[in-house]
């Protein structure tokens, strides 16, 4: 009851502040208030959701959806735009955490499962979604009118974007549920590798689609761009890893602040240099975990300071969901969500069976592949920017799919973690569910 009263009091204060401005958009001054408001309300909503056995993360997302511009409008669009800096930092932090989780030696026994699940579930689902989009053209006006070749290329591109998963959600839920075991490790390994696979597939599919539309930049240029993004990000990641290693080894003090600043640099400068911040931070984390002796220090430093960033990140993600587009594209979106889920669940089961993975992985790994967030949103936006001729409907479809997966999938994966018995088995068993 107190939690609800607190949430209502904070909302009342936000509303009062809103009435102070005369209709013009609130400037960056409102951002600090929005940051504090999302942090507190998201946190309290997370506690409420935990009480009804839903992930806290869904509470953070729900907060964003309700207080964001489409519903109550307590947090303005300019404030959300400014808070994207936080989102960038959070993405880098999450990838850094994911990297520190990837202890290659420990993953070796699971490597076979990870590779087979990636191949069958991720690549298989891409193919399945591509075929579905192609044959569902009558439901999609922006593809229906295209010649066969162009329609096939767009179908492939949409199939790739829809396949994207979310390491951020997987890492956040692993932390929240304090989960550990073969399922958690396998899912994390798959979503991280799948991230790379999806980026590569998107670059290839995008090149093919551009060629089909006659606007291609040439194979060599595309390969060069792709190499810069992938190899450049990894090399920069190693450089950042070295810097973090030096700091954690030699300085140690205020390491949380230093890591946050580094993530800020990764997010902002990495984007300007056309690096993939996710890949860059992932490479840094993996380097530190597997080459140096400060992996645990880095992990602990992130865990001790990352919660506020995560809460705001997911609340902002919720607030940027395009709810108004949902009714327009609901039917095709639902079809693709069902096909995607089926592809991942069956594909993961098949891949795990081929790899002779433990039973728990066979039964539940597919559920960990369902969440979508940052990468899918980024690819959806990139798609709409690259192919403006397809109109806003294509973008709305992709964003709608991401929105639905963003809302529903974390609860499903949480359920899978609980059923698998891996929830609460992590390093901090006594504080299970604290975060």
């Amino acid at each position: 009851m107190i939690l609800i009263l607190l949430i209502l009091s904070l909302a009342g204060l936000m509303q009062a502040a809103r009435s102070f401005t005369t209709g013009t958009a609130m400037d960056s001054v409102g951002t600090a208030q929005a940051f504090g408001y999302l942090l507190l309300t998201g946190f309290f909503a997370g506690l409420l959701f935990k009480r009804i056995r839903l992930p806290k993360l869904t509470g953070y997302l729900a907060t964003g959806i309700i207080v964001g511009p489409p519903v109550l409008g307590l947090v303005s669009q300019p404030s959300l735009d400014t808070l994207k800096l936080v989102s960038g930092v959070a993405t880098a932090l999450i990838a850094l955490t994911a990297g520190t989780e990837l202890q290659l030696r420990a993953l070796k026994p699971l490597l076979r499962s990870i590779l087979w699940i990636t191949l069958v579930a991720v690549c298989g689902t891409t193919v399945l979604l591509t075929i579905t989009v192609f044959f569902a053209r009558p439901l999609l006006p922006f593809v229906a009118q295209l010649p066969i070749l162009q329609a096939a290329a767009v179908s492939l591109l949409l199939g790739v974007v829809m396949t994207a998963q979310s390491p951020a959600v997987v890492v956040a839920l692993r932390t929240e549920m304090n989960a550990e075991g073969p399922l958690t490790s396998t899912v994390l390994g798959v979503v991280v590798i799948a991230d790379l696979v999806v980026i590569v597939m998107f670059a290839i599919a995008s090149t093919l689609a551009k060629a089909a539309f006659g606007t291609g930049a040439g194979v060599v240029t595309t390969l060069r761009v792709l190499a810069w993004e992938l190899l450049g990000s990894m090399a920069a990641g190693v450089l950042i890893g070295l810097m973090l290693w030096f700091y954690l080894k030699k300085v140690r003090a205020s390491s949380g602040l230093f890591i946050l600043l580094t993530c800020c640099v990764i997010a902002e400068v990495g984007r300007r240099l056309d690096f993939d911040p996710l890949l860059l931070a992932l490479a840094a984390g993996t380097f530190i975990r597997n080459v140096t002796s400060v992996g645990d220090k880095l992990h602990d430093a992130i865990e001790s300071s990352a919660l506020p960033i995560y809460v705001v990140f997911f609340a902002v993600a919720g607030a940027t969901i395009h709810l108004k587009e949902l009714p327009l594209i609901f039917a095709p979106a639902l079809l693709f969500i069902v096909v995607r889920a089926a592809g991942f669940l069956w594909g993961a089961q098949l891949g795990a069976r081929i790899a002779q993975a433990p039973e728990v992985v066979r039964r539940y790994a597919g559920f960990g592949l369902l969440p979508q967030a940052g990468l899918a949103l980024a690819l959806a936006l990139l798609f709409s920017r690259t192919f403006p001729e397809l109109g806003s409907a294509a973008s709305a479809l992709l964003l709608g799919i991401v929105a639905l997966n963003e809302i529903l999938a974390p609860a499903i994966y949480r359920f899978a973690l609980v059923r698998s018995g891996e929830a609460g088995q992590g390093r901090h068993a006594s504080s299970a569910g604290d975060h």
Partner: protein
């Protein structure tokens, strides 16, 4: 490609610079030096961050561009709120109630004299040289004079540390500490009046209220937030990181709300901190721990942004700085002597000297940066920033010189005897709080 190459080089240089600064700021030896010399982080770990802000703001470097600075404004507001909250949370009613009655007169007299001399010297400078295009009788000039006088009249919390370094008696140290705290209170009240009665102009504001209403609104807002945050903090967080989240969110929300209403985040958060410090509850230790943990990082980031906002090319600021620093010392001297005579406060010679040469603290910088945010155009705010930020560095240097001169002249230097009495855990942490707690730590065992 060449542009990308330039960005890569700048980024690598920036990262290396950050690493070096972090190394300097965080290294235990640097903190030992800070402690040994009795200097504040403004000129050790802090000054390089100010310089970094200045350098990264340069168009040729192009890292802290206008857009990035706008994006970082929430961080600045959070820092201002944090400083205000920190100051308020230190104001324990019990400590204030134990003060001698005459100390109120002494503080008032001292602040009034310092304030008047600084304002008068600045007015003389501006009238004599026609540095600003408007009359010294205008409201804008009056506003800026109040801001400069208020910020300049404050005494850094490091002053008691200087006394410790000179082996002063505990009574004087405790007295100087309380004087410094009460002066902070006076500074907050000054800022409160400026924000209430000199309302920022401009569109987008729908509430038109008289100044007194804004003053009451500021107090009311601080109280409402104090109560809400009190209820929030009464919940027992599951972990330290949750406690940090609650405090961070509360201060950001209060500071943001104040800024949205064009009020001072420093003042509103001060009242929040004041209420929380004096309400009953077992959260205080937790809050102190979080404040201590985050103060240095937030303060250093604040200085980085302050450096970026500092317009060095505004030469009026340098002229003002040249007048401000001597005027402040003169005001401190006269104010302290007059206050001692008028209020009959038992202050030792060393304590009086420490008050005269006391450096400017973080609250002074916060007041002038807050004013810069509220009144970005017109007046002499830019010059005030140079005077206060430059003054903070200059007064710190003067203090060090004065302290060493006194030591060379034979005044007993008990630094080595006193320093080990510091609680090492607290003293190795950040900012003003540990320095102020040091004498109490000494007293408690006896």
């Amino acid at each position: 490609v060449s542009q990308r190459g330039a960005v890569v080089i700048r980024t690598i240089l920036g990262l290396l610079g950050l690493l070096v600064l972090a190394y300097i700021g965080g290294h235990p030896k640097v903190r030992q030096i800070e402690k040994m010399l009795g200097v504040s982080q403004v000129i050790t770990a802090g000054f390089p961050f100010v310089v970094l802000g200045i350098l990264t703001r340069l168009p040729r470097v192009g890292i802290l561009t206008d857009k990035v600075l706008t994006d970082l404004e929430p961080l600045l507001l959070l820092s201002l709120g944090w400083i205000g909250f920190f100051v308020g949370f230190r104001c324990d009613a019990q400590m204030l109630s134990e003060l001698p009655r005459a100390i109120g007169r002494m503080i008032f007299g001292r602040v009034a004299v310092v304030f008047t001399i600084i304002a008068a010297a600045s007015a003389l400078l501006f009238v004599g040289t026609a540095l600003i295009g408007e009359s010294v009788l205008s409201m804008t000039f009056l506003r800026d004079a109040i801001i400069l006088g208020t910020a300049g009249a404050l005494t850094s919390h490091y002053t008691p540390r200087l006394l410790l370094a000179r082996g002063c008696d505990e009574t004087s140290i405790a007295m100087v500490k309380r004087v410094a705290r009460l002066q902070e209170l006076a500074g907050i009240i000054g800022l409160l009046f400026v924000c209430a009665y000199f309302r920022p102009q401009g569109g987008g504001v729908s509430w038109q209220l008289p100044g007194t209403a804004w003053l009451l609104l500021t107090l009311g807002l601080g109280t409402v937030f104090g109560i809400i945050i009190y209820i929030i903090l009464l919940r027992d967080p599951a972990s330290q990181v949750e406690a940090m989240l609650l405090l961070l969110g509360s201060v950001a929300f209060a500071a943001g709300m104040a800024a949205t209403l064009r009020l001072s985040p420093v003042v509103v958060c001060f009242f929040v901190g004041l209420l929380l410090a004096n309400f009953p509850g077992d959260y205080k230790e937790r809050v102190t721990e979080t404040l201590t943990r985050l103060e240095r990082p937030i303060y250093l980031l604040f200085l980085l942004v302050v450096g970026a906002h500092w317009r060095l090319q505004d030469w009026r600021g340098w002229a003002l700085l040249a007048v401000f620093v001597p005027a402040r010392f003169m005001g401190n001297y006269l104010g302290t002597r007059l206050a001692k005579v008028a209020a009959h406060i038992p202050l030792s010679e060393a304590a009086q000297n420490a008050l005269v040469v006391s450096p400017l603290g973080s609250l002074s910088i916060a007041i002038v940066i807050n004013a810069q945010l509220l009144y970005p155009e017109g007046g002499t705010i830019q010059a005030l920033v140079t005077a206060i930020v430059g003054g903070a560095i200059a007064t710190e240097i003067v203090v060090q010189l004065a302290t060493r001169t006194a030591a060379d002249a034979g005044i007993p230097d008990a630094r080595e005897d006193v320093a080990p009495a510091y609680n090492p855990t607290l003293d190795d942490t950040y900012g003003d709080l540990p320095a102020l707690q040091a004498p109490e730590q000494e007293k408690s065992p006896s």
